[in-house]
Amino acid sequence: MAKVSNEELLQQLTAKLGDVFTNEGEPFGLLTIETCRDNIIQLLTVLKNDLNFIHLTDITAVHYPEKEKQFAVVYHVHDLAGGVRIRVKVALATEDVHIPTAVNIWDGANWMERETYDYFGILFDGHPDLRRILNVDDMTAFPMRKEYPLEDPNRIDKKDYFFGR
């Protein structure tokens, strides 16, 4: 079976969904589309049920402090039989980081979303158990946000004068 090309995939998606997403190019052959959070569940459902993208590879997020909508939630979905991947992005504003959960589509989304919440504070609405997963429960910050420093800025034990410099 020949691989479905990205153009065919876009056509199929448009035929199913209409105009709910924008094409963001295909870096290194991986088709990237962007949609809004109202349509993400519908889009993922169509991808899984109608277009055979049965494997949710990954959910994560990226923080772009200079953009108007600072957060991008990124889904990587994979059609195992056809060997085609697609990347779906949803941009979210800082003051409103809600997005519906994908747990009802894939059970595996559970921890991926918890990790994304833990790192970025993205709130997945409808998630059964949205708690921190890797960091301690009483942490208040979201460490993967760009404004969070890698090391404690108040720390003085690494200052140069302790090393005679």
Partner: protein, 403 residues
Amino acid sequence: MQNHPVFTDNDPQNETSTLNLGPTHPATHGVFQNVLELDGERIVSGVSTIGYIHRAFEKIAEHRPFYQITPLTDRLNYCSSPINNMGWHMTVEKLLGIQLPKRVDYLRVIIMELARISDHIVCNGVLGVDTGAFTGFLYMMQWREHIYEIYEEICGSRLTTNIGRIGGFERNFNDIAFAKIKSFLTGFPPVLKEFEALFTRNRIFVDRTKDVAAVTAEDALSYSWSGPLLRAAGVDYDVRAQEPYSSYQDFDFEVPVGSNGDVYNRFLVRNEEMWQSLRMIQQAMDMIAKEDSSIFHANVPEFYLPPKEEVYNNMEALIYHFKIVMGEIDTPTTEVYHSVEGANGELGFYLVNDGGRSPYRLHFRRPSFINYQMYAPMSRGMLLSDAIINMSSLNVIAGELDA
């Protein structure tokens, strides 16, 4: 479980007991905590807590140049670090558009398949220990030691290998390394055969593992499983076969597939993968013999750190060394996802680059993290002793779980 008829609702016989399995329990082979509700020996429910060795690699990676991120990847799945290292190198090479000479690809295949064998040796050996047979584990462990000696010959270190560089290897394989690989290829198959003879039809082992923790293909896919676990459930997805990286398309190998995803199937799939890895290493050795033996990296001076003696004696090398270390070289502003078939499944690197010397964002798709989340739900109704074996055969590596 049915309640005993003579007991009332608040009778102690109807109470469940809470058991903290982990975080440091010898049967869990790592820092995994599961708080289990037990009814006798049967698990009623469980909650997994992870993150005990979270080291914030993704945050650290945003502050490091590309070539300094390799040591971080060592510490993901530390039972097969070379696969992580190569996966990272290939991600950056994909980003930068570097084409590798065939010999480098084949050398990488040798290293990656050795790493896969060493990982499966540990997993299947430990599975034997958990079912009560220590011999196989110790017998196989000796051969993992031989693999570590090969690493040592190539890169100088054993566990956290930091093997290879962006664009190839830091040095050529020496003759001793090739001799050790050859002796591994002749010495290991009889041992693996004996190991299989110890377990595959062993009555105790089969009784303990067959139909334990069986997983349907639907569940495995819904939980985003990959690697030997997904294949044991009957889905023939292998990154090496479907999206061949590093010249896997030149190799002749089979993807073993199980049927019902139980512990026994996982054991068989891993064993067969070791045979296939041996086949691939042999093929790679044959193909390398036809290549120019002096090539061990691509000719990309703007990304590949020059050897030190060149830096001290050659102006161009000095300039490139300075530019690489100081981050003066432009990289494309784009994003790349690259995945390799790790020993536990699809190990993915999602790299968002803004043109600088370090990633804007780097996310590891860690198979152990994703495979492990089914553990608590699938343990429901299972015997505690079966749950231990199940964890062992999931082969969750704490470093990869927590990143």
